[in-house]
Symmetry: C2
Subunit: 356 residues, 2 copies
């Protein structure tokens, strides 16, 4: 990215050599993302991240067809739900598809809700809280058989599992750079060739007319590089992450309590994301284990993503209050995993002690 | 920005110290922008650039009031016009305010179009092609006297002239980082305290509920730093740029032809932006003067910004085809200005020669 901060200031689409060099840099970056997604470069529209990509898919696809019925899994991100619900005043009917208690949205649950006027189904590739993998391919095949489009928010998947569009078969697919070591402020939407997505913002025509606004050139260059890395490293990373995550869970159960529950333990999940139900106030544990960076649910309304996802698999408010989400990364070492488990155990002991 | 690439990976709004450090970094950046704009930090919403800021102002303000009448100067950017025109199907009436032949939108031209149901007037601070400064303060005072809001796209102004919100008095104001040496992918919208702007994208609540999506943290840190620099350097830069621009025009007229016209020469203009009407095919000159980076109008439809602005001041298609826009920067030296004039003159001679 460095040269694009310090030397190449121009924007693509202008009439001189420096601008063309930047356009070429951006196109190489687009090819990097295409390598990861397994698509052609021209099937990718750059955005400023996953939120914009999800908005663009839902609103941009909806703008090309008459108002109708849309199915959204209850586990989707706010950027999918919010965009979908905004369509209601335009005559769209938005229906939620529940997930099972194991955190998976059954293909059957989608199929039995398909109607004559269903235009779009939104199903994420992997859930950011539960880690559960969703049957995107099966849903896409079933939907396509009835002429229904499928949008897949795949922002949690890349860099963690080897996956591509040939496997997922969705019609549109969201990518967010900072979820796999790319820079913040850079993302992309895959749009299957031949499909029309209308712009959701207004301005000078850029990105094949789909997305106006000056390109975040250095950020997108970084997105391309991160995508190439993710494409090449995901298989190896996936195996390693799964092993370390298992080790972490084993040690936590060993040191704290065998009864610590792993959310959706039986389901196929991301190798690096695990939500533990500790059975005690998770935010106190979080505070006591200050060096450990984990997520907990926000207790105040409106419900945050963690609360929503755990409620979707039938967890009670007190169970949700006892939940921490732990994520491992490519550089996480075995020592760090062990130290994390130790920190958790110490925090736990401290809390138990203080209650005596 | 560097530490926010290489060390601080978290996002603000999470429950640990690293996240709070990032939130503090972002708030310092917001104060940097506030210093430049002359507002309170809490009156600023971060965006990914000027296009999003303009969209947010027009659509976000419109969403808070009943559909009505909106005035847009004909010189506004596509991101203002596009957003405004999208409101027509919601019952809004969008009316264009013409500019005079000197590239200035007269306050009177706005006032005589105000109606009982006029809700918003959009007037840019400075035109990116013509360089003309617009009477934002006078228009704002006149509009406020009738309870009408004013949005000002000020993206071309900062870093070039000392200006702040106390001078411009608009209710909302757009900022784009890369227009004054900040990074691409970072901008802001000033929203006067007490005013409600509805979000234009959907997702997790961030930026005081007005703008969802993961913040481009390093980009916004850079925006803050660039804004502080712009606040401190604009007065000095302005004087220097005006002198160099005058020198450039003088030399061009001296070497090429005294008849080279400066667009809107009599109007108050930005000190660094000048459009020259060469009276010959500008794109050929541009190609011949390869090292010189200038803008020319695109001849093909749809009309680009340069074509639109020059047509607005009554220039013919052949005059527009002979126009080049030259912009100077803080680091432009006298030698570079002289070299640029030489390059132009050489290109000109070459063209004249080839026609003999």
């Amino acid at each position: 990215m460095q040269p694009f901060w310090s030397e190449h200031y121009l924007l693509p689409g202008q009439e001189h050599q420096g601008s063309r060099a930047i356009a070429e840099g951006l196109e190489r970056a687009r090819e990097g993302v295409a390598e990861m997604v397994g698509c052609d470069a021209f099937e990718l529209v750059f955005t400023d991240g996953g939120t914009e990509a999800n908005n663009l898919a839902v609103l941009g696809l909806a703008a090309d067809v008459p108002a109708g019925h849309m199915l959204i899994s209850e586990l989707e991100h706010d950027s999918v739900w919010g965009a979908a619900l905004s369509l209601e005043r335009g005559g769209w009917e938005i229906e939620s598809v529940p997930c099972q208690d194991d955190g998976v949205v059954a293909t059957e649950a989608v199929c039995q809700r398909l109607r004559q006027n269903t235009r779009l189904v939104c199903l994420q590739a992997a859930n950011p809280v539960l880690g559960t993998l969703q049957p995107v391919r099966e849903v896409a095949d079933a939907c396509h058989a009835q002429g229904v489009l499928v949008h897949c928010d795949a922002t949690q998947m890349f860099g963690k599992l080897p996956v591509d569009i040939a496997t997922l078969r969705a019609d549109t697919l969201s990518v967010s750079g900072h979820k796999y070591y790319g820079p913040k402020g850079a993302g992309a939407l895959y749009v299957r060739r031949g499909l029309t997505v209308h712009p959701v913002r207004f301005g000078e025509s850029r990105e094949m007319g789909v997305r106006p606004g000056a390109e975040n050139v250095p950020g997108l260059i970084g997105l391309g590089a991160a995508s190439q890395l993710a494409a090449r490293c995901a298989t190896e990373a996936s195996d390693r992450l799964a092993e370390l995550t298992d080790r972490f869970v084993f040690r936590v159960r060993d040191m704290i309590q065998p009864s610590v529950e792993v959310a959706c333990e039986t389901a196929a999940r991301l190798p690096n994301t695990v939500t533990l139900l500790l059975g005690t106030e998770a935010r106190q544990v979080q505070r006591a284990a200050g060096q450990l960076i984990v997520s907990t649910a926000r207790s105040a309304a409106p419900a945050d993503q963690m609360t929503r996802c755990l409620a979707a698999i039938g967890k009670s408010p007190s169970q949700i209050g006892g939940a921490i989400r732990v994520s491992l990364g490519w550089t996480t070492s075995q020592e760090q995993v062990d130290r994390a488990a130790d920190l958790l155990a110490e925090a736990w002991d401290q809390l138990v002690e203080s209650r005596r």
